[in-house]
């Protein structure tokens, strides 16, 4: 089962990469960019036996550093509820 993990910096954590991207977009003449935050998308192909709790444990143990990052899990079987979370 395809599962996506989105890792983003917590609010309030300075994001130098996002800032650099923002400057570059400004430099290219794109206007109206208020802020840029850079994160990571990690795609996992998981056996059906892997539980939501297992995926969360993977995030806490390795995929995200919860000192500075948040994570959001999107599992294919839960596509609807995941879409709700995005909205």
């Amino acid at each position: 089962m395809k599962t996506r993990v989105y890792v983003t910096l917590k609010n309030g954590v300075l994001d130098p990469q996002g800032k650099a991207i923002h400057h570059a977009l400004d430099g290219l003449g794109f206007s109206g960019v208020n802020d840029v935050r850079a994160g990571k998308l990690i795609e996992l192909d998981l056996a059906d036996t892997v539980s939501d709790e297992d995926v969360e444990a993977m995030c806490r143990k390795l995929l995200a550093n919860t000192v500075i990052e948040n994570f959001r899990i999107e599992r294919a079987a839960h596509a609807d509820s995941a879409a709700d979370q995005v909205a």
Binding site: V13, L14, P16, Q17, K40, K61, N65, V67, I68
Partner: protein
């Protein structure tokens, strides 16, 4: 003093650390590969050197922190064995949860490389035994992810408990409260971004890093 240097794929300051430790202690350190599950029995110091372990994949130090040898390093630290993490070693120790906080991309984006002035902090640990608190020293840095960050409560706790080992004397990488190095609550684990092992020999042009190893040798025996 018997020391061990942990080597990961992508470590690149391991030779400098081995040379520095041998120069100061008079004994060749044991080299421990990351796949090992045990450390030498009579180890008095474990050094986690700088470099780009696992290519900095995912986050600097994240992979190395979960490699087999780190379980043995954690157990040793819990027994009170001094553990020194330099640069990538500092990143690995925070990722392993042995030190609080995280090392993020430098605030100025750029890799910083060169001598920096540090102020020795108030931490009481075998690692700072060779320095006076408040003394200014110069140690080289070379890193891209040295921007130390933690929540305010953690930063307050580190300062309140006297766990800052080194502070940057000027702006370096955006680190919260200019933190360049911290120790664990017991004081036996030090993580620092600057490279004391690069300021040991007369040929380095600066021997102020040597005093860290000498102080450690005296404190540990």
């Amino acid at each position: 003093m018997n020391s061990a240097v942990i080597i990961f794929p992508g470590s690149n300051c391991d030779r400098d650390m081995l040379t520095a430790l041998e120069a100061v202690t008079g004994r060749a350190p044991t080299r421990v590969w990351h796949r090992e599950t045990a450390l030498p029995d009579s180890v008095d110091l474990i050094a986690v050197p700088g470099g780009f372990s696992y290519g900095d994949y995912l986050r600097s130090g994240a992979m190395a922190a979960n490699s087999p040898v780190m379980r043995a390093v954690k157990d040793a630290a819990d027994r009170g064995v001094p553990v020194l993490g330099v640069c990538n070693g500092f990143q690995i120790l925070t990722e392993a949860g042995m030190l609080p906080g995280a090392l993020m991309r430098n605030a100025g984006i750029r890799f910083v490389c060169g001598d920096v002035a540090l102020t020795v902090g108030e931490a009481r640990s075998p690692f700072t035994a060779g320095y006076r608190s408040g003394e200014e020293i110069v140690i080289p840095v070379a890193h891209h992810d040295g921007n130390f960050q933690a929540d305010q409560e953690t930063l307050d706790r580190l300062e309140g408990e006297g766990r800052i080992a080194f502070r940057y004397a000027g702006e370096c990488n955006g680190s919260a409260r200019d933190i360049a190095g911290i120790v664990s609550d017991r004081g036996n684990v030090l993580g620092m971004m600057p490279h004391p092992e690069r300021a040991v020999e007369p040929a380095h042009g600066n021997q102020e890093g040597r005093r860290l190893f000498e102080g450690l040798l005296e404190a540990v025996g």
